[in-house]
Subunit: 283 residues, 2 copies
């Protein structure tokens, strides 16, 4: 019989999630953070950075559908897309389903995350293994990379960890200004924006910073069972296109790939927020 | 220093939620089930039936907003409302905010739940303490009660536990036929319908049973952090009114009470489901 081993992540000092694990597939420290990949019975393989769940095989489809498809179905012609973070490859995998995208760049600070994802999470990393000519990998700090690019990307997706550790700079106004400059005149930025249930203060400051830079800033939501509270959010920050008014529902409905979470109705519903979430980011 | 005591609820054999508790306020067995009310640090007071979380003070506003307001803002003139289960009183509290409701009946099988809620969960039980003439309490089996009522209620809310133990009959076609008969010709039934993430099989059979009885059956969703996966659902089953096409958004927007979860936009968004949830209940 296997050892009865449970991984518990505290979502606050006083509550958390717990899941049964069967083995540790990798555990090691990079220059930036602690990386662990473990096998769980309920959620399949799970990647942790500094002890926090980043992705699991069972529910990653939700996060990756929702960080990618709302922007890529709002922008009428997304040709060049940048992902900052996202070293597991799931975001790039979803971007590659869009035939209009000619080129996607992944800028991940930690090469160990990329390497171990290719090795141990192949269902996510399938498009970042070096075989897809439409994908370029850069191992670099997102801030440093973006400083050197202007007016270049149609869409920038900030697939970051929480605002502690290496990702703290990715929640500040200065960074959003650099993103704004790196986007074309009709560009869109998406960033994961934490849990409205647990992270009201982070959201308040993040959306204030975004509104100081972008003319259009909206929040949308997704259920992600392995994230704190299960209630997660993304920021849609845009120069020109509005996620509802400029959304071409027919184009989204006629997509040629299956999405287990995203669909053209959910696209609109995701922006219809509970009152307390609206209040977190009220101007 | 208090004992470091954690309550863990398994949502499946291999995953669950855990929260720090400070004291047990009540623990006892009724004729029907085990009832516990404990104090937690993150979620306030929490009621458990047979070891499963029913409500917590911190997130009950979500469940109670969503079991009540979508139906009560869809029906143009809800005068008489029946709640089956719901002995904590939170559902009745929200119904009482609707001035059009002349009379609400609570039919709860377990008097111990009512008694201890009045005693220990006063923020929920505030309208079931015997002082509101618009509220009637019946301590009775929902099936037995409803069998004796025909063509009487505008809305019936099934605020039940999971389909194990005393609530199992509340998920069967025979029960839905009795509800149909107890409703007026334009009546609406709402029932909690489990988690699309964990309970696909229960949903499939429940919605098949509902569709065998009601001409209009739709699923809607809410984030409930203390329920399995955080992703929860409700069934909207109706004789005449459709929850979107017959929804008067202006009436909902001009409501005279504050709702921390429900609002007139979220009403529509709640019916826009992820693909996998749609597929659970596909006809």
């Amino acid at each position: 019989m296997i050892m009865d081993l449970w991984y518990t992540e505290k979502h606050s000092d006083n509550a958390g999630i717990t899941m049964k694990t069967t083995q540790t597939l990798f555990s090691g420290k990079s220059k930036y953070q602690q990386l662990d990949i473990v096998e769980t019975l309920e959620f399949g393989r799970m990647m942790l950075l500094d002890g926090l769940v980043m992705v699991t095989e069972r529910d990653e489809f939700i996060y990756h559908d929702m960080i990618v498809h709302p922007a890529l179905f709002t922008h009428p012609n997304p040709k060049k897309v940048l992902v900052i973070g996202g070293g597991d490859g799931g975001t790039i995998r979803e971007i590659m389903k869009h035939e209009r995208v000619e080129h996607a760049v992944l800028c991940e600070i930690d090469s160990l995350v990329i390497e171990k994802s290719i090795d141990l999470l192949p269902s996510m990393a399938c498009e970042i293994d070096g075989n897809n000519p439409r994908v370029t990998l850069h191992v670099d700090d997102g801030l440093a990379y973006i400083r050197e690019h202007q007016n270049e990307f149609d869409i920038i997706l900030v697939d970051s960890t929480d605002p502690i550790g290496p990702a703290v700079g990715l929640f500040e106004e200065n960074f959003y200004q650099l993103v704004f400059s790196a986007l074309k005149d009709d560009g869109i930025m998406i960033a994961q924006s934490e849990s409205p249930f647990y992270h009201a203060e982070i959201q308040k400051s993040m959306y204030r910073n975004l509104r100081a830079v972008f003319p259009i800033v909206e929040m949308y939501q997704a259920f992600i069972p392995t994230y704190p509270s299960g209630f997660w959010s993304f920021a849609f920050a845009s120069k020109t296109y509005h996620p509802i008014r400029d959304f071409d529902q027919n184009r989204a409905a006629s997509r040629k790939f299956h999405t287990r979470y995203y669909n053209e109705d959910l696209h609109r519903g995701a922006f219809m927020l509970p009152t307390f979430a609206r209040e977190n980011i009220a101007e």
